[in-house]
Assembly symmetry: C2
Amino acid sequence: MASSTETPPVPAVEPPPEGKTPAAPVNYLALAEVVLRFLLFASAVVAVVVIVTSKETVLNSRDAKFNYSPALIYFVAALSVAGLYSIITTLLSFYTLLKPGFCPQLLSHFLIVDVLLLGIVSAATGSAGAIAYTGLKGNSHLGWGKVCNVYDKFCTYVGASVAVSLFASIVLALLVLLSLYSISKKIPK
Amino acid sequence: MASSTETPPVPAVEPPPEGKTPAAPVNYLALAEVVLRFLLFASAVVAVVVIVTSKETVLNSRDAKFNYSPALIYFVAALSVAGLYSIITTLLSFYTLLKPGFCPQLLSHFLIVDVLLLGIVSAATGSAGAIAYTGLKGNSHLGWGKVCNVYDKFCTYVGASVAVSLFASIVLALLVLLSLYSISKKIPK
């Protein structure tokens, strides 16, 4: 027999490095989560930018801005929180896609925040939508006149922002349902 | 040995009847679900009854009712759906408490509706809250006057109804989180 000290033994199969499964299949659930979280980020940013830039001045004296209405201020605050939160969770869920099995406890905490944020963003959409609709149609019973015939650009921007935040609410609901589905798949039958 | 045909053998331990586990411990998660679903039912009914009975007539000519505002009509519709839905789920979750293991597939479908209803009820709370706040404070920038100094009872009732529906939204969020917790407890470590 040859002396084994001269040629070091070459391992036939390389052991998989830590944190990686060899030839892992694409995890479509994790991929869908990354896409949904990115959509949430994009829609929250668009909604906030559109409503913040909606200022309109007519007749050189009277102007309309979002911070004249408490409902629209709450709307901007809620969507800003959703946008900031979704930056973090998009990055973390992308990291989880690359390294499966990374800290599942952390992601379940994000799921709790998802549920709370669904309520907050839906309430913001509802309140801004109610103000925008009242501005568009007025309310003769309560003596509130239309303002959208005067502030044309302002109303268009607020309406577009409400539509985008409705989309963000739907994305948040889909995120919660996706998490429920991926959790329930781990339960043994 | 005695003949075994005369005295039929008495089984030492009676087998548990079908669908019952002997001396089952109280399932606190299922009990909490029944309580939360009943609270959702109660708060939805209270919110709808309060806002429907809020009609007020001043000076024998001008009156205020909830169906003068589209936001309040949506509020009544959303809370009515939540109330009807919670009757069914309260009864079914109570049945599951008595007979554990009854059709878990059915309850996971209810969880999906819980998430959607959380968004719907939150949006209704937001929109009715925005209208109620505008009625209380007015909005001088948009030229909308206060109405709550005229319609005193109407505003009190609408405000109370919005507060109760905020409670219903919180109960719905807790129900979703409770379901998440009880699902995640079934995952083997």
